[in-house]
């Protein structure tokens, strides 16, 4: 065997049923060259193993005697924030889920397809590999929720308190806020809710979860949080919010003009809203470094992401993509966040009007607007501008975005 090019990922499996562990062990035997796997029969043993030598990924059952999965994950989130925490459970006990809404990154239900489990572990590991800065990885790993614009949060609480509120009412509010959108999509796309397809629209998510569930999640479990003002002096939450909203609506408009499917249009809306979520994370959790980053942008006339790389070792596209990937949001959103500067690198490429391309275009074309000055507006991909589907419609798109 050749020497290991990179350190093998350490994966810890926790289940009170020994036969499940043995089955996993055999099924994953083929992964032993990539993963260093350990199997333990309970929460206390898992904690002990983690404390001896931390694991990159923890996959745990929910219902276990003594310490259940939620208790284990909550403890791990505090002690080992950078660990990827995945639930693999036999049935959706909503009570237990809501106890670890913040600490579990992803939820799988038993029986779980072997390939899905392998892919998920690999993908979440790879996401983390992009984040060279250990501190950033820890911070993103420990994020339970993202701040919401206080006015939006206020409006949501009021709307929820009204009897005649509909899912559409709530959806319209949630889809204006990054923090709420990303959280509710994380929830609804987890296997706990047994969904067979991926949801990218907050309205659909509310309709799917049901008013009562949403009400209890928001009011009792506090899955959303009204933000304190950001500590950075260079950017405000309102500005980030307004920018996301404008890009989301712009991206949707572009796809509508191009007669893309309704589904793609909605994906573009959500993807656009969330595309700079990395900025929000960095501004919120590293305000001092972010101030430095902006200083660097000014003093050396750098692009924002270059300055970010220099100060933080990561840029906002990587950080954002890490979070939405870790939280199991649909790939179209992860890719829009990661590749909104370079759509050609996305899976869909640039030869047809994808939501990623639309986000890139909307973001780039809004540079003329003063309100969006603080943000890095990517130079539009010249190859993209030459594509047939776009070239013929470019003027119409510009026109509609600037009115």
């Amino acid at each position: 065997m050749s020497e290991e090019p990179i350190r093998r990922k350490r994966v810890l499996f926790v289940d009170d049923e020994s036969l499940v562990l043995q089955g996993l062990q055999r099924m994953l035997r083929g992964m032993r060259s990539e993963w260093d796997m350990t199997f333990v029969e309970g929460g206390p043993q898992a904690l002990e193993a983690m404390r001896k030598q931390p694991f990159d990924v923890v996959v745990t059952d929910m219902r276990m005697p003594g310490m259940n999965g939620a208790q284990l994950l909550n403890t791990l989130a505090g002690e080992f924030p950078e660990s990827v925490r995945i639930v693999l459970s036999g049935h959706a006990d909503q009570d237990l889920i809501t106890q670890c809404l913040g600490s579990a990154h992803q939820y799988l239900s038993k029986p779980c397809d072997p390939d899905l489990l392998k892919r998920l572990i690999n993908e979440t590991c790879r996401l983390g590999d992009d984040i060279a800065n250990e501190r950033v990885r820890k911070v993103v790993g420990s994020i339970e929720r993202l701040p919401s614009v206080p006015a939006t949060y206020q409006r949501l609480s009021e709307t929820l308190a009204q009897e005649e509120t509909t899912a559409a009412d709530l959806g319209r509010i949630i889809e204006q806020d990054m923090g709420m959108t990303v959280k509710i999509l994380k929830l609804v796309n987890s296997a706990f809710f047994g969904l067979r397809r991926e949801l990218t629209s907050p309205t659909e998510a509310v309709a799917y979860l049901g008013m009562e569930t949403v009400r209890s999640l928001v009011l009792a479990k506090g899955i959303f949080e009204a933000s304190e003002p950001l500590a950075t002096r260079r950017i405000t939450l309102d500005a980030i919010w307004a920018h996301g909203l404008a890009v989301g609506q712009g991206a949707k408009t572009i796809l509508r003009l191009l007669k893309a499917s309704e589904h793609d249009q909605n994906d573009a809306l959500t993807s656009g809203l969330l595309h700079d979520i990395g900025t929000l994370i960095l501004a919120r959790h590293f305000p001092d470094l972010y101030d430095k980053t902006f200083d660097l942008v000014d003093s050396e006339n750098l692009l924002l992401h270059v300055a970010e790389q220099r100060v933080l070792g990561v840029d906002h596209t990587e950080v954002g993509a890490y979070l939405v990937g870790l939280w199991g949001l649909p790939p179209v959103i992860v890719e829009s966040v990661r590749f909104h500067h370079e759509p050609a690198l996305s899976t869909g490429g640039i030869h047809r009007p994808t939501p990623v391309c639309a986000v890139h275009l909307a973001d780039g074309m809004l540079r003329e607007t003063p309100a969006h000055a603080a943000f890095e507006h990517p130079a539009l991909d010249p190859v993209l501008l030459q594509t047939q589907w776009l070239a013929n419609n470019l003027e119409a798109i510009r026109g509609s975005l600037h009115t």
Binding site: E17, R26, R29, R63, P65, G66, G90, H91, K110, P114
Partner: protein
């Protein structure tokens, strides 16, 4: 208001003499003056006037008056003074008329030509007594009719053969029949056919032993509907009456019945809700119990496929080697290729693990089979009929079905008597009762908040003509103050959302009400609780 008449004939009476012949009139007056106050009138009109001014107890009335001949005078006197006794005086030739007068309400008659003082006095006195008795009877009758006519309850008096001597008008008001219609309807026509045997039995019993009976039945209204009645029947005690009679007081109990039905419906609904709640809870637990083995069945099978492919490659390579060999000469490169395949194939691991994977897969299949079988047993698709039931198996199935509910909180110990006879039982409901007790035990153990698992023991044994089921837990126990209430519907100590207070009430309904068994509760706070259910082996 009823006036109580003077009961004594000795008291001074007021007597009115109506006689147009002055000689007779004064004669009567003289004779009767010692009996009381006497007034005399010579005509009917003056007599009526006098009665109007001053009532009297006795009227001595001549039937041949200038302004009135015959019975008309009597009729008018009686109309004016219904409470006065009337004695007729008439000639011998008119004795028939006198007899007619008696039938029309006169108390006595005197023939003028055979009249003497003592006869007159005696006649007046007797007439007075008779009239007073009659008045009394009349007042009692009025009282009775006043009560009977106005009562809301239904009053009837019947004879042994069931014929009604009297029915109160309330019957007609309640049922919508006219009096005649009702009188033509027999008991058979009126009483709901299914209720008739019960009514007959009660009344026959009443006439036999004289002990009052209370019974319920439905009675048909004129519009064809039925009214539920509750009837109290008592014998009318009258030593003189040749035929015994019974008085029935019945009451419309529609409202009560409706309330009972409503309560029953609510109880049924609640039980259904509790059942659904437990089914919902069980479904999640069963999903877990099934998904867990399915997970490792899938993982092992996926491993076995991989192993088989690896073994296939080895066999293939070795087959190729054998094909290349001639006699005992084998091409060295083929031998080393075969050896390399063997080395790379992780063969030792497969040889160790494949048998285990197969065994565990089969174990998983068995687990799923067992759970699915227990689910079938638990819900008992055999219907709601009472049937001979293997209580041990019921308990095992129930415990299996709800394993996910208790396995994190407690260890389960079953001590089921192998020689336990089958019991006449409603299996589905019995299972529900056992399930409720197990769930309660789990909650009681969880309430201890002890880090270690608790213990639940379920035992069965035969004690004489009963089968005993003992469900014990090491939970928090039931405080004395609430021990009497734990079987009440809606009583719960659990937080809102954790139970609707129907669990033990259902256990009670099944074991005591339906199966005629008994429940004995023994509990010590902090130590645990045991429920002893006793089921009769013989149908009660």
């Amino acid at each position: 208001m009823l006036r109580t008449p003077s009961l004594s004939a000795q008291v001074s009476q007021s007597i009115l003499i109506v006689e147009d012949e002055p000689a007779l009139s004064s004669l009567y007056e003289r004779v009767l003056s010692r009996q009381g106050t006497v007034r005399c009138c010579a005509s009917l009109e003056t007599a009526l006037e006098a009665l109007h001014v001053h009532p009297c107890e006795v009227v001595l009335l001549d039937l041949g008056l200038p302004d009135s001949q015959g019975l008309e005078g009597l009729a008018r006197i009686r109309r004016h003074a219904p409470e006065a006794a009337v004695v007729i005086t008439t000639g011998a030739s008119d004795e028939n008329l006198a007899l007619e007068a008696l039938r029309n309400g006169a108390q006595d008659y005197l023939l003028k030509d055979r009249l003497d003082a003592s006869t007159l006095v005696r006649a007046i006195r007797y007439a007075l007594e008779r009239k007073q008795t009659e008045n009394k009877l009349h007042q009692v009758e009025e009282l009775f009719l006043g009560v009977a006519d106005n009562m809301v309850d239904l009053l009837s008096i019947i004879q042994t053969d069931g014929t009604r001597i009297y029915t109160s008008p309330s019957y007609c008001r309640l049922l919508g029949y006219s009096g005649e219609e009702l009188s033509e309807l027999s008991r058979k026509d009126l009483v709901y056919p299914d209720d008739l045997p019960g009514v007959l039995e009660a009344l026959e019993g009443l006439f036999r032993d004289g002990i009052s009976r209370r019974f319920e039945y439905r009675i048909r209204r004129r519009d064809g509907g039925y009214v539920p009645l509750e009837s109290n029947a008592a014998l009318i005690l009258d030593v003189h009456a040749p035929n015994p009679k019974a008085v029935l007081i019945a009451r419309d109990i529609s409202a009560r019945k409706a309330a009972e039905a409503e309560r029953e419906r609510m109880e049924v609904e609640l039980r259904q809700a509790q059942k659904l709640e437990s089914i919902g809870q069980l479904a999640a637990g069963i999903a877990h119990e099934i998904n867990t083995p399915i997970q490792y069945i899938g993982d092992n099978t996926s491993f076995l496929r991989e192993a088989f492919e690896a073994l296939g490659r080895i066999v293939e390579r070795h087959q190729a080697l054998l094909d290349q060999c001639q006699g005992d000469r084998c091409p060295p490169e083929e031998v080393s290729a075969a050896r390399r395949v063997l080395e790379e194939a992780d063969l030792g691991y497969y040889l160790d693990e494949v048998p285990k994977a197969l065994a565990q897969t089969l174990e998983g299949v068995n687990r799923v089979t067992r759970i699915v079988g227990a689910m079938k047993d638990f819900s008992h698709p055999g219907g709601d009929a009472k049937c001979w039931t293997d209580i041990n198996r019921s308990i095992e199935s129930t415990v299996t079905v709800c394993r996910n509910e208790w396995k994190y909180a407690a260890d389960m110990e079953l001590d089921l008597s192998p020689s336990l006879p089958w019991v006449p039982c409603y299996p589905a409901e019995f299972n529900q009762a056992i399930l409720n007790l197990v769930i309660n035990a789990v909650h009681a153990i969880e309430a201890n908040q002890h880090p270690d698992k608790g213990i639940i023991r379920i035992g069965t044994r035969q004690v004489g003509e009963t089968v005993e089921i003992l469900v014990q837990d090491s939970g928090c126990g039931i405080p004395d103050v609430i021990r009497d209430r734990v079987f009440d519907p809606f009583f719960t100590t659990k937080p809102v959302g954790k139970g609707i207070g129907q669990g033990l009430s259902i256990v009670h309904a099944v074991i005591v009400d339906k199966l005629k068994g008994s429940i004995h509760l023994d509990s010590e706070v902090g130590k645990g609780t045991s429920f002893r259910l006793c089921l009769p082996l013989r149908e009660v």
